[in-house]
């Protein structure tokens, strides 16, 4: 049974985590409008949050946004670098989300084949 006492312990650990975090980190934004949700964005987002937590990525914030306007390519995940550069990943799923965490967020290599550029070249 989950209890509020457990949440207190999490608070203490989270405080330590937050202290070690760098300002101005990277943002991971998941499209979570009707189109994204129907295409599977919720599980993509939960995988991203879970991976960021277990890998203790200190400079990554996962958040969500509405419809970006290319509903046919949902679920869409955008990674915004501290310098403002955006990488847009499309047609995501749980496995692709894990791959983006490892290759892009941890190792700094963009997964070119999952980007919007690659998807549009295919069409």
């Amino acid at each position: 049974m989950k209890s509020l006492a457990e949440l207190e312990a999490i608070r203490e650990r989270a405080k330590a985590d937050m202290a070690g975090r760098t300002e101005g980190g990277r943002k991971v934004v998941v499209g979570m409008a009707t189109c994204g949700i129907a295409a599977g964005a919720r599980s993509v987002m939960n995988v991203l949050v879970e991976e960021v937590r277990t890998r203790q990525l200190k400079d990554v914030a996962v958040t969500m946004t509405g419809c970006i306007g290319v509903c046919r390519l949902e679920p869409i995940v955008e990674i915004i670098e501290p310098n403002g550069e955006r990488i847009t990943y499309v047609k995501m799923d749980e496995a692709k989300a894990r791959r983006v965490v490892v290759e892009h967020l941890v190792n700094g290599r963009v997964c070119q084949d999952l980007t919007i550029g690659a998807a549009e070249a295919e069409d």
């Binding site: 509020l4 979570m32 009707t34 129907a38 919720r42």
Partner: protein
């Protein structure tokens, strides 16, 4: 949309966009009357009578990125398929109340789905200026989770912290299991 938890994730965002300070979600099952009711009440900016009349029209939306808005129409269709209905009330400046009534036993009623996953996603993006109540009840059992109470425990640690979200996800899943039983409800 495969289940009700996905619809909930979708429609709660209407309340967030309406700048609500408090969003109350109430999920009630009643076998005696064969009803499952999903109610979302917010104190956001509300809708004018004209907007309210158009809210469940798929070709009406306030967004500018595309010209259709399917969130409410899809939920309305679902309710009606089970023999229920979607009720919407709104007052500009006061807020909006949505009540989705479904027949509990209808073959067309989707399962509740993973409410824990929905709640962790909603709270991941919730600013410190918005609170959520989640209440579930069925056959005399009742449980509630309030972000206000969680925030009192967490102090300056935000709800969006990954470790906190993980706890919330499990906590809501436990609530759901206790009130509604297995994943099919």
């Amino acid at each position: 949309m495969h289940d009700l938890s996905l619809h909930l994730l979708d429609i709660v965002q209407n309340s967030i966009k309406a700048q609500a300070r408090l969003v109350q979600v109430f999920i009630a099952g009643d076998e005696a009357t064969d009803q499952l009711t999903l109610t979302v009440v917010d104190d956001g900016k509300g809708m004018s009578p004209d907007q309210l009349a158009l809210a469940s029209d798929p070709f009406y939306t306030t967004r500018t990125t595309r010209s259709v808005g399917l969130g409410l129409p899809l939920l309305k269709e679902l309710c009606e398929m089970t023999g229920g209905r979607l009720l919407l009330e709104s007052q500009p400046g006061q807020g909006t109340r949505l009540e989705a009534r479904m027949s509990l036993s209808s073959i067309d009623r989707p399962p509740l789905g993973d409410l824990g996953a929905t709640w962790s996603v909603i709270l991941s993006a919730a600013g410190s200026d918005i609170d959520f109540d989640l209440q579930m009840c069925s056959n005399g059992r009742q449980r509630m989770m309030q972000t206000l109470e969680l925030r009192q425990v967490l102090g300056d640690v935000p709800l969006g912290e990954p470790a906190v979200l993980s706890w919330i996800r499990d906590f809501v899943a436990e609530m759901q299991q206790e009130i509604f039983g297995g994943i099919h409800r």
